[in-house]
Amino acid sequence: MINFILLIFLAAVTLGIVGLRNLFAIVVLSGGYSFVMATLLIVMDAVDVGMTEAAVGAGVSTVLLLSALHLTSTETGPSKHSNLLPLALVILIGAALIYGTWDLPMYGDPETPVHRHVGPYYLENSVRQTTIPNVVTSVLASYRGYDTLGETAVIFTAGIGVMMLLRGRRKKSDAGGAGQGD
């Protein structure tokens, strides 16, 4: 039941983001969206993911968007082309996807193919093989540790990418001659 209420809330916040034009309001709403998403994830028993989504989505994402807004502008201009073609495309894709969900298994069913093979193997053998009760941490760092090395490399690349793009003391009033600041 609370699942249902949170999902409706999420859809309402998204409708707000689609319709608004003031960028500051959109950024605040996107912080609220991340917060509702984190609560929903915790209701669905994904506590690690909910904690990460709350810290990253409602924390770091909002700070980054606000600092980018400070460096650019806070209002969107009026839209200059018609929105009919994108709307039609989106409705077509939506119809195809909803047609696809009729065959999916029910929410919370323990007999689905997802819960065969690998999931029960990790749940049974994690404490015996790695002495770590939190199965998500043991899978992330030990059983699938190579993927986590790749993920750390992705964060590292994003850090250097941002530093390379925005280093240097460019004043905002200095238009033209882009690229001299590196």
Partner: protein, 124 residues
């Protein structure tokens, strides 16, 4: 009465998937139709978060609990989607940071972040 409840329960079983599809469509619509670059980035992040819902809702088992092995619990939700989505969240914030850095450079080079104005400046 039980018939109606059964039917309601059957259709409610898919509410997760329908709201996920609605979020996918909303994110896609913002990216394709709106012309402000920062709004497009917010739409892209909505698109990414809808995929988290898509992965984690099949992993939940009704009557199960958090996948941390402890005394007294026998049924746990599937931990594998949690691991995949942890990586996806962090990759999402990395993409957002780089996208915002590029938008700041575009603003300094063109003076505007509306896509229509940038096309007009490039093709006139």
């Amino acid at each position: 009465m039980t018939d109606l409840l059964n039917q309601l329960n059957e259709s409610l079983g898919h509410v997760n998937h329908w709201i996920t599809i609605f979020l996918i469509l909303a994110g896609l619509y913002i990216v394709v139709a709106k012309s402000n670059m920062i709004k497009k980035l917010v739409g892209l992040s909505i698109f990414q978060t809808s995929v988290y819902l898509l992965y984690i809702s099949p992993g939940k088992i009704v009557g199960g609990t958090v996948p941390i092995i402890s005394e007294g619990y026998a049924v746990y939700s599937n931990p594998l989607p949690h691991v995949l989505i942890l990586t996806a969240i962090v990759v999402g914030v990395a993409t957002l940071a780089l996208g915002l850095a590029i938008v700041v450079r575009i603003k300094e080079a063109y003076g505007t972040i509306e896509e229509d104005n940038i096309y007009a400046q490039d093709w006139d």
